[in-house]
């Protein structure tokens, strides 16, 4: 009898505690929604990144927020939410409060919006600033293909045999890869990779033949002579790689690269957005950032674009990619 009573009182204690804690959590979640710009930041700033640790977007976010943290006396917490070319990170971030404490580090917004996988338009999320405008290259394992011409003609003769890896599905990587395939007529087999790390080890191990990737993340492989860039998606040859031809040289009109930027809820207080934009610019101009950018070949093009200007560019890009996505489908 007493044992039964004990069990019952025990269960009641548990139930009460559960109710207490859940309601406390619910309250705090629905509590102060409008951030205070004056005292910003007075708590940790969450930055969702839609790509795996170690990749270009992740490194970008970590580097820039690290410098911003010093100057703003703030803490940034980087959360990697891989998948869907950044869509999952965006969706997770958009469920958080619009108080200015949740940011998104993105690099594929225009494409995912055009493809319809991202459902948050520019009325719901807006850029703080674009910081990087990167340059793609097709890279192979050293010794497999000597030149881009060899690769393209081999792929034309053996349709579907060359495995071309790039990160993600319906992101800018895939769009660029497919545009390349279409433009050159070199029929390659597109394999979406989960993240940069997996892609690099797959190329090293010979499980895929070509990767579409910037030279920054693979710099160490290139220096060790493991990887070889065959063509850059750029107008002019790069100073660091004078022997590697460009797409324009070959008559292929493909120069779009990955742009990396920070975004925020569209209805976050404007003062906070302005402050973050200013801090991002300051961070970008520091020696530390410049050195990182130079080391990782991120300064091949001018990256900076402020919030308003970049919003316009994103609008145009979305329209452009909508057409391309239509074509590819």
């Amino acid at each position: 009898m007493t044992a039964k009573l004990k069990t019952r009182s025990f269960l009641m204690v548990v139930a009460t505690l559960v109710l207490l804690v859940t309601s406390a959590c619910a309250n705090s979640a629905g509590g102060s929604a409008n951030g205070d710009a004056e005292s910003y930041p007075d708590q940790e700033i969450q930055v969702y990144v839609g790509h795996g640790p170690g990749g270009g977007t992740d490194t970008f976010v970590r580097t820039i927020t690290d410098i911003m943290a010093d100057s703003m006396d703030a803490d940034f917490n980087i959360i990697n939410k891989e998948g869907g070319s950044g869509v999952i990170a965006m969706q997770t971030a958009m469920q958080e409060k619009s108080d200015g404490y949740t940011l998104v580090g993105d690099s594929a917004y225009a494409v995912t919006t055009a493809a319809g996988t991202n459902e948050y338009g520019l009325d719901e999320v807006k850029p703080i600033a674009r910081v990087q405008s990167d340059t793609y290259a097709l890279q192979v394992k050293n010794g497999s293909f000597e030149s881009i011409d060899e690769l393209v003609s081999y792929a034309k003769e053996n349709p579907g045999e060359v495995r071309l890896g790039a990160v993600g599905t319906m992101g800018i990587d895939e769009i660029t890869a497919r545009r390349f395939i279409k433009e050159t007529g070199a029929e390659m087999n597109y394999v979406p990779m989960e993240g940069a790390g997996q892609m690099h080890s797959d190329l090293l191990g010979g499980h895929i033949d070509v990767i579409l990737e910037e030279v920054g993340p693979t710099a160490s492989y290139i220096e060790e002579g493991e990887f070889q860039p065959l063509v850059f998606f750029a107008e002019e040859r790069l100073d660091d790689f004078p022997d590697v031809p460009t797409t324009i040289e070959n008559g292929w009109d493909l120069t779009d690269g990955v742009e990396r930027y920070l975004m925020i809820h569209a209805d976050a207080p404007q003062e906070i957005v302005d402050l973050l934009e200013e801090e991002a610019k300051k961070a970008m101009e520091t020696e530390k950032y410049q050195k990182y950018a130079a080391d990782a070949y991120l300064d091949l093009r001018d990256g900076w674009m402020g919030s308003e200007e970049f919003t316009e560019k994103l609008k145009q890009d979305i329209e452009k990619y909508e057409k391309i996505v239509e074509d590819i489908k």
Partner: protein, 495 residues
Amino acid sequence: MIEGILLGLDNLLQPIHLLILLVAMMIGLLGGALPGISGTMLVIILLPVSYGLDTISAFILLTTIYASSVFSGLISAILFRTPGTPEAVATVLDGYPMAQKGKPGQALGIGILSSATGGIIGTLFLIFLTPLLAAFALKFSSPEYFALAVLGLTVVVSLSGGDLIKGFIGVGLGLFVATFGMDPLTGVERFTFGRLELIGGIDLIPVLIGLFAISEVLRKSKEDHTIQQKMDKIKTKIFDREIFKRIRVTIGRSSLLGVAIGILPGVGATTAAMVSYSEATRWSKNPKEFGTGVPEGIAAPESANNAGAMGAMVPLLSLGIPGSATTAVILGAFVLHGLQPGPMLMSDSPDLVYTIFLSLLFVNVLIILFSKPFIMAFSKIMKVPYSVLGPAIVIFCIIGTYAVRNSVFDIWIMLLFGVLGFYLDKMKFPLAAVILGVVLGPIAEEEFRRGLQMANGDLSIFFTRPISATLLGLALLALILPLLNRFRKKTGAAS
């Protein structure tokens, strides 16, 4: 390797890491000793905490808890006939009778010495074997990862403890949960019911905490709580020359056996302890004395389960296959920290891997020093009634779940899985099988589809690549053998 060990030592000797190690060891000892809190549960409860730490600290915390909880399960097994952790099940067989004969101190001493020795031997194997296995790294691509995940899933056979059908249903349930959310390859939404919270899928932590911790509290709440026996002053003697002479061979053999069993993907320390107990009986000159409180009966399972627990880290770190429920949770922890345990881990984060190695080694040595004062303190803690302890665990679970992504939705998910886990456990469904599905499902799915894409849709890619084919073959064997055995037994019994 020397370089890696120095790197790990350098990491470990930082004051903050040492502090974390000590705290974690205390938590592990305490949790492992308390019946109703298993190592798995502890690791799960602290998983959200580890989220806020840097990677190295986080894994020192989790692996230390793992190692020390496997160790301290023996205390309540010997004193109360209630194994503190599943790994200590076999320790009850001789430990409790010996304690009843008025020699609880001796029983504890044998257990501690055997555990620490087993743990150290296991860790040494871990240190030397992991790099060897990881050397295959670059040979692995999507087909191999898929095959590994499948092999990992077949662990269900040993996890389901006899009732294979329930095991398979459990894994199926886990795999089903893993399909929720956005398709990683095409971005199509699955089973989201229009809920934004479900687009990112069901988070691993709420499922883990619900299934293991909450369900366990619910189960315990229905039990009789009157085991709080009097703990008289116990004099623990760890090293006794004569006893050591008697059990050293058993310790050596059981440790090796434990490592070997632990390394097998999917067979954890609990199996290691049971098998080595029966082996000790087989090798003994007086097998009939087993079960009455012989030193060998404590030494065998205790050295084997600690060695096995360390051995189970080998497939986890080198291949990404969990060997037990706790290592499955640690696998999840790696994923949550943005790391993929597997062949690349060793080359990508050698500092982390070696720090884990060294902290495990360190903990196993420290246990000898700390176990005596701990047992003394523990006798006081045992007086806290479960009606206080249980609710405290529930609170930790709720706070922990909420803290991971500040999501109230996750708390509901956790409570839902808690109730589900309670009933599944009641119906004897192996909960670890469900977790297996949840953890390995996404890997299996994604790598399978990527592998197919690589081969232009040709399924043969999984069978023509040697490693992938071997792994899938092993997986098939792992499934067929137990079935065959059962069939043989049945026909044998019939004729």
